[in-house]
Symmetry: C2
Subunit: 498 residues, 2 copies
């Protein structure tokens, strides 16, 4: 038991550093004066090193082994905590320090190059940096593959979605790749034959948009005594344990984008806020990986807030707050805007029907990269080809093609699938919640999210990392992660007779 207690004390230090970094990173994106950037980067780097030192300290493995030898003395939460500590230990210690350093340098160089090269559509500058980085990522994947006993790609994915297996992702994505293109064509044809949506005319004063965002957050039960809303260049959810901070941005000719960002990030924040407070400083008290995290934001944004019931409630709020009048502000029209499906080049602007196809493309390519089966030089061609096959559009340049995302230049491989696994999980979890809570949809229609959130609190949020991701989903929904609810929602929402 003593070894376990020492592990908890060490995790408490790590949590303090991570919480500090969470606030520093939030501050960096929202408050920090620009000239402080180099000093801040250096402070964050130094704190990261301290975390890494705590995670790789001498004697730590023996401590974990001792705790594991006495695992029967621990309760279920402590046992899960120990499993998570072991998991973190493997990820922190598998890769030798010199490779870690090479990865930091290579990803820093690739992402710096990306920033300027993307704007200039200059693939040739980026390619050699990416190539060097990918080679190092393959080394990392091979080493972690051996340490975790999983495939190299799974070893990368495991950091974001622990325990996830390739064959499961393959099967879910094959199903979607089979289903979506045809449905996409049907939906666009159907929408072309319907009345066309009319955009409400701005400008929409930013102060009004902010008030609308705050009003919605209030309706959603955002915990303002434990959180904030601010402005940042890219919307995100961050902060620290017990202090959830989300951001949005405002365009004065488009209030929808900001509003959807607020709802999406509120979903992330409510997940964090609902984690078990008594485990706040321990790994078991953290969110259950990126698939689950994305499921919570997409459940709110795509499943709940875009349901007919919620829109029925939200439209009058939006009209009242923004003072809109006329046809463009009718519920039917706003619903049409909300639900417009339009295949495009850019992932972050994609609708919920097209989005998974963008992800499947990236998943297939990054698997080939990790397997060493796709040369970096061939990446733009492979991207454009697959884009045409899956989404039906072909990028006219690399800026809006292979260079559009920051993930690969930052060395983040194995992350993309979690966006769409999260969307699939969101549909499945929402469907289960609806079955369990008959008042859920009527609640949304009157702006009452408590039936939904009560169920989420019990079945997802409060569970932290007590279970592995798929076990959590199966326990909450009664079935393993699958595409059924996702597909049913698309068909019902977009292709059911009015």
């Amino acid at each position: 038991m003593q070894a376990y207690q020492q592990l908890e004390a060490r995790q408490k230090k790590i949590a303090a550093l991570e919480n500090a970094m969470g606030i520093l990173q939030w501050d960096q994106e929202t408050m920090m004066p620009s000239g402080a950037a180099p000093a801040r980067a250096s402070v964050l780097a130094e704190l990261s090193v301290m975390v890494h030192e705590l995670e790789t300290a001498e004697g730590l493995e023996e401590q974990i082994q001792q705790a594991e030898a006495n695992v029967d003395a621990l309760d279920a939460w402590q046992q899960a905590n120990l499993r998570e500590i072991r998991h973190g230990f493997v990820h922190a210690n598998a890769v030798p320090a010199d490779l870690v350093e090479k990865l930091v340098i290579a990803s820093s160089e690739a992402s710096m190059t990306w920033r300027t090269a993307r704007a200039k559509d200059d693939w040739n500058s980026l390619a050699p940096k990416l190539d060097a980085l990918f080679a190092l990522k393959r080394e990392e994947a091979a080493i972690k593959s051996a340490a975790l006993g999983v495939t190299p790609y799974e070893a990368l994915l495991d950091q974001f979605d622990p325990g996830r297996r390739e064959n499961q992702v393959d099967s879910i994505f094959a199903d979607l790749a089979d289903f979506l293109p045809g449905v996409l064509a049907e939906i666009t044809a159907k929408q072309a034959a319907e009345p066309q949506p009319v955009s409400p005319q701005g400008p929409f004063p930013i102060e009004k948009q902010r008030e609308l965002g705050l009003e919605l957050m209030n309706i959603l039960g955002f915990p303002f005594d434990h959180g904030r809303l601010d402005v940042a260049h890219h919307p995100f959810s961050g902060g620290a344990a017990g202090d959830v901070r989300i951001t949005t941005r405002y365009e004065d000719d488009d209030f929808m984008a900001s509003l959807m960002a607020v709802i999406h990030e509120t979903g992330h924040a409510l997940y964090e806020d609902g984690l078990p407070a008594e485990w706040a400083t321990q790994p078991v008290g953290k969110s259950r990986g990126m698939t689950l995290h994305e499921s919570q934001s997409l459940l709110l944004e795509m499943q709940a807030a875009r349901s007919s019931e919620a829109i029925q409630f939200l439209v009058p709020v939006i009209r009242r707050m923004l003072g809109g009048r006329g046809d463009a502000w009718e519920a039917d029209n706003l619903l049409r805007i909300y639900r417009r499906v339009k295949p495009g080049l850019i992932r972050v602007y994609a609708d919920e029907v097209t989005y998974p196809l963008h992800v499947i493309l990236r998943y297939r390519l990054e698997k080939a990269i990790v397997a060493g089966e796709l040369a970096t030089a061939d990446l733009p061609g492979a991207w454009n080809e697959l884009m045409e096959t899956l989404v039906g559009v072909r990028p006219p340049n690399n800026r809006d093609g292979v260079m559009q995302d920051v993930h690969w230049p930052e060395g983040i491989l194995g992350y993309f699938p979690t966006y769409s696994l999260g969307a699939v999980a969101a549909a499945q979890i929402f469907a289960a919640a609806k079955r369990a809570e008959p008042d859920l949809l009527p609640g949304l229609a009157r702006g009452d999210f408590r039936p939904l959130f009560g169920w989420l609190d019990t079945n997802i949020r409060s569970q932290g990392c007590l279970y592995m991701p798929d076990e959590l989903i199966a326990r909450a929904t009664g079935a393993p992660l699958g595409t059924e609810a996702f597909k049913a929602n698309i068909l019902d929402r977009y292709l059911a007779p009015a």
Copy 2:
């Protein structure tokens, strides 16, 4: 040389933690949602423990000794850095861990009690907590006295103003206690015979006040690319290296208080901003203690900004920004308000003539407390007595008497003198700058602070902790710290014929 480099590396870690804490503390006072307070306190406590662990690590003293044995291999800045590292080591290691813990608990209890007891004028609740805390402070002072080879009171003072000696403070304060009461009577008599100041009538919209503050900060050359202005309950200057953040507060019927706070805190911030950037992560790159820090804020607030020349420039700016009209907005009247001298009970509201008397009172009492010559039970009586002798007013209750400051309940003894030593230093440094820069006063009259700041940059700010405080003052001004310039300024400003 290797030992020294290791010490620098350790200091870099400490600096990262301290910088993180600086931003977290700023955030706590300006941005943090209230419900996050307990979690934040726990994160800050954990980071403090990490700093303390780095400062008291095994083998550290041997490392310092090795570096000291090879001191000739170091340049002047490195040698000064090593001296500061040794100084920090003594303060961090002299007091045994169990006493440190007792002090943390006792000061936490006393300050918690103070918060509620002060409002209720309830000395009897506070007294036992203070008494217990003072007993522990005497233990601390005795231990540090032995470690530093100075008197017990000096050992406490040394943490805030390194190297400062009691006999020097005694002599400066005796001089002021001799000079000020008579002068105070003369000034109040003179001001009573002059036209009475008229208060400009508010309300002064807070947004206008904020714009005025920002405009003044611009005139003062506040580095907005490395700093911010925000609102907090108590004005302060904080942030991190290369990221200086000040706060003020706004009352809509009084723009002066906020404005003076902005100027005062800008003085602190410009000192921090002017410290040698190449030493930002090392002790030698820090500010030269609290007397020097206060000298830099008071130099700006009391010496420069209240000079006739600066007021001549500032009054039109204030009138323009706030749109003031009429007699109350004439330069003469505003000058009268600025320079109103009125003995009162409360230190933080005191004018520059009365202020040192408040400090001298506290200095005398806390010396007696540390010496064990004043029982806590006798403190209120001693306070009221001395208040009447020095300032000429007697507190009707303890709330506005002995209980008005947070310092003692927080266990901060040896800090008060630095306020007035700072005021004395400010006058001496300003006088030296005026002698060296003939364009200094003409500069202020046209809103150009560069002649002053150029001199301060060279002689004070850029020097960090290269010298001990008194050596820095003597090198900058050509004389040891003394009251001459301070007294001359009071006589000239308040008693010279118009």
